[in-house]
């Protein structure tokens, strides 16, 4: 009898032992003379259940997890092939409460398809967006993206359609489409999951963008901390070229689009779009002053469309179903779906794609199940290292760009990091400065010097040295950084610092150095 099994090779799943499970399966199948086909997929995003093993049955896929190598024999004994009962049995993944309440538009195929197979991609609805785009033409594509209300998912939330329009209207012999896959924010991993689990959706989105703006070349700038995503991209690009959906003649349209994945080299600031372009040009990743905007003068001085992975990956769905269908999700001016990444000290961490508008409390308590340590949640940082620390009293804030801004926070790339009551917010504020000092590009003084001064001053506060005066100095430094920095690295570092100070003042009261500062 032949059995088809699915097991993720998503980096998080590998980190929890997926390859050891695959080996154990191979051995057990050989010993029992079973004919097993193992498809390595991305992850469905229920990360506390990884490695999640699924089996194809006439009633659909049945999942088991978290599976350890030692569970394989008992799983086979329990009738894994037929989806038999076992203590690890989850049932149909789609019916799991975690997934059932999601709206998966961008991540609809992730964890389901073989990320390296164009055939499988097509079988699951792939390339319908590109077909629609080729029929609609540049102006039609830009109109669809505009009417979707899509805003850049990389952090700033700039309307994607307007950016595409600018590049489309720019006159030049050579234009570029660049994907920002630098995903440096702590607590974010949606870009990585999509690149590993369904890279063809990103590639299709970039191809649609290229058709829209008239670009023939594109780059995906992938951070080097993601070696598996980089490998998955290269595999998928080669597959798409072989299938003729990428390359000299995209789907027989006569249009060319050549795409290359490039590896970063461990610099957070290269996520800032102008630093990223400098880096792609082979230089130090130092921020460029704007204007000119990259849409008019970007890579090698040419008009360049720069978007985040998730912005591009939302586009195939939008072209297939129409802009208004996408805009029907969400709230206010935050339309469509947001891939939320729930991480840190949380019981059920993972990827949750839903329409904007869930509250932070719903995500942390109902979906996440509270802390992994079982202790009370004390603080939550949303939006990466430049995002605010929120106390419990702000947990009813809905996930919406404007609602977060109103509370002096930012939604950023949708990363939510949960801390229990053992967290020390003075140390978190200290880390914000330390991180900025380590990762600043060095171009402007408020950021380059301010971060170092901030770090020194917070250390004095932690040591109990004139805390009141030193905190006044920190506040002052933060104002200078906010007002005087060239980019958001220096400009937003005050956000985590000041939110910690505002919402958790008791941690800064100068009770003397409690813990050794391990990191130096």
């Amino acid at each position: 009898m032949s059995i088809t099994l699915y097991l993720p090779k998503d980096a998080a799943s590998l980190a929890l032992g997926a390859d050891r499970v695959a080996k154990a399966l191979g051995r057990a199948a050989a010993a029992r003379g079973l004919d097993v086909t193992l498809v390595r997929t991305g992850s469905r995003g229920l990360l506390w259940l990884e490695p999640l093993l699924e089996v194809a049955t006439p009633a659909g896929r049945i999942a088991y997890g978290p599976v350890r190598p030692g569970d394989i024999e008992s799983l086979l004994d329990a009738g894994l092939a037929e989806g038999g009962a076992h203590r690890l049995r989850i049932g149909r993944p789609e019916e799991h409460p975690y997934l059932a309440r999601q709206q998966r538009l961008t991540f609809g195929r992730c964890g389901i398809v073989d990320p390296a197979s164009v055939e499988d991609y097509r079988a699951h609805g792939g390339y319908r967006g590109l077909e629609a785009a080729l029929a609609a033409g540049p102006a039609g594509i830009v109109e669809a993206v505009k009417s979707s209300g899509l805003r850049g998912r990389g952090g700033a939330g700039f309307p994607t359609g307007i950016k595409w329009n600018t590049v489309m209207l720019a006159a030049a012999d050579q234009k570029y489409v660049v994907c920002n896959a630098d995903e440096g924010d702590s607590g974010t991993f949606a870009d990585r999951m999509l690149m590993e689990g369904d890279p063809l959706t990103l590639i299709e989105g970039m191809t649609i963008a290229a058709v829209a703006v008239g670009a023939t070349r594109g780059y995906i700038y992938c951070r080097s901390e993601y070696p598996h995503a980089f490998a998955a991209l290269n595999t998928a690009i080669a597959a798409a070229e072989r299938a003729g959906t990428l390359g000299a003649d995209v789907m027989g349209s006569g249009r060319a689009f050549h795409l290359e994945a490039r590896l970063g080299a461990g610099a957070y600031i290269c996520g800032e779009e102008t630093s990223l372009l400098e880096s792609l040009e082979g230089k130090r990743g130092i921020v460029r002053a704007k204007p000119p905007i990259p849409a008019l003068k970007g890579l090698f001085g040419q008009p360049t469309l720069v978007n985040n992975v998730l912005s591009f990956a939302a586009v195939p769905w939008i072209l297939e179903h129409g802009g208004p269908a996408y805009a029907a999700y969400g709230m206010g001016r935050s339309l469509g779906t947001l891939p939320i990444q729930l991480a840190g000290n949380v019981r059920r961490g993972g990827l949750i794609e839903t329409a904007f508008g869930l509250t932070l409390r719903e995500v942390i308590e109902e979906i996440g199940g509270g802390t992994a340590s079982g202790r009370p949640v004390r603080a939550v940082q949303v939006g990466g290292p430049l995002g605010a620390y929120f106390p419990e009293s702000l947990f009813d804030t809905p996930l919406d760009y404007e609602a977060f801004a109103a509370k002096k926070g930012l939604l950023g790339h949708g990363g939510i990091v949960v801390f229990d009551d053992t967290v020390d917010l003075a140390r978190q504020a200290r880390f914000a400065f330390e991180f900025c000092a380590a990762e600043s590009c060095g171009k402007c003084t408020p950021c380059r010097i301010g971060a170092v001064r901030g770090l020194e001053t917070i250390d004095k506060v932690i040591a109990g040295e004139s805390p009141r005066e030193n905190l006044a100095l920190v506040t002052d430094l933060c104002e200078v950084m906010t007002d005087g920095s060239l980019c958001a690295m220096g400009g937003l570092t005050p956000v985590p610092v000041m939110s910690a100070l505002t919402h958790f003042p008791e941690d800064f009261s100068g009770r003397g150095a409690r813990l050794p500062l391990a990191a130096e």
Partner: protein, 165 residues
């Protein structure tokens, strides 16, 4: 083999200027070739030798200062060979939330190294990184390029043994 910079010194060749020039020539015609060249050199030799700087500058028709500036800007590039295994430990917030700081102090003590340092037996180089995208299963690490989640001293030792096998 997933990705690059698996960084196992055992798999690296000794520095050889002629071999380096060949690698550089292979990439020189790419747009913005500096980073791909530096990655390729580090992948081959385990680090980027100072002798590579003038070679790259000449091939790309750039100044030595430009290449040196690029080489020193990025955290990834090493100017000296690393240990046999490279352990990258995530120091970012989501891992902090599950005790990464205390664990790192233990790891550094256990292998008797400082950040970026190599253990005296040459087995392990420990480097800090900010986020590996494994934030829901921290503390997280990359051991010779392979991800490890829910890290503690035992899982780290196991991962190193597995890599050595």
């Amino acid at each position: 083999m997933p990705g690059r910079d698996l960084g196992q010194a055992s798999a690296c060749e000794p520095w050889d200027a002629e071999r380096a020039a060949g690698i550089i020539a292979g990439h020189a015609r790419r747009e913005g070739a500096t980073l791909p060249i530096l990655h390729a050199l580090q992948e081959t030799f385990g680090y980027v030798d100072a002798e590579a700087v003038p070679l790259i500058a000449e091939a790309l028709n750039l100044s030595r200062a430009e290449i040196h500036g690029c080489l020193t800007f990025y955290h990834d590039f090493r100017s000296e060979p690393a240990g046999r295994h490279i352990v990258k430990l995530c120091r970012a917030e989501a891992c902090q939330a599950v005790g990464a700081d205390a664990l790192h102090a233990e790891v550094l003590a256990r292998y008797d190294v400082a950040w970026h340092g190599t253990s005296r037996d040459g087995q392990v180089t420990v480097e800090p990184v900010f986020c590996l995208g494994l934030c829901a299963c921290g503390p997280a690490a990359l051991v010779d390029g392979e991800p490890v989640g829910r890290l503690d001293l035992d899982t780290l030792a196991d991962a190193l043994t597995e890599r050595a096998a």
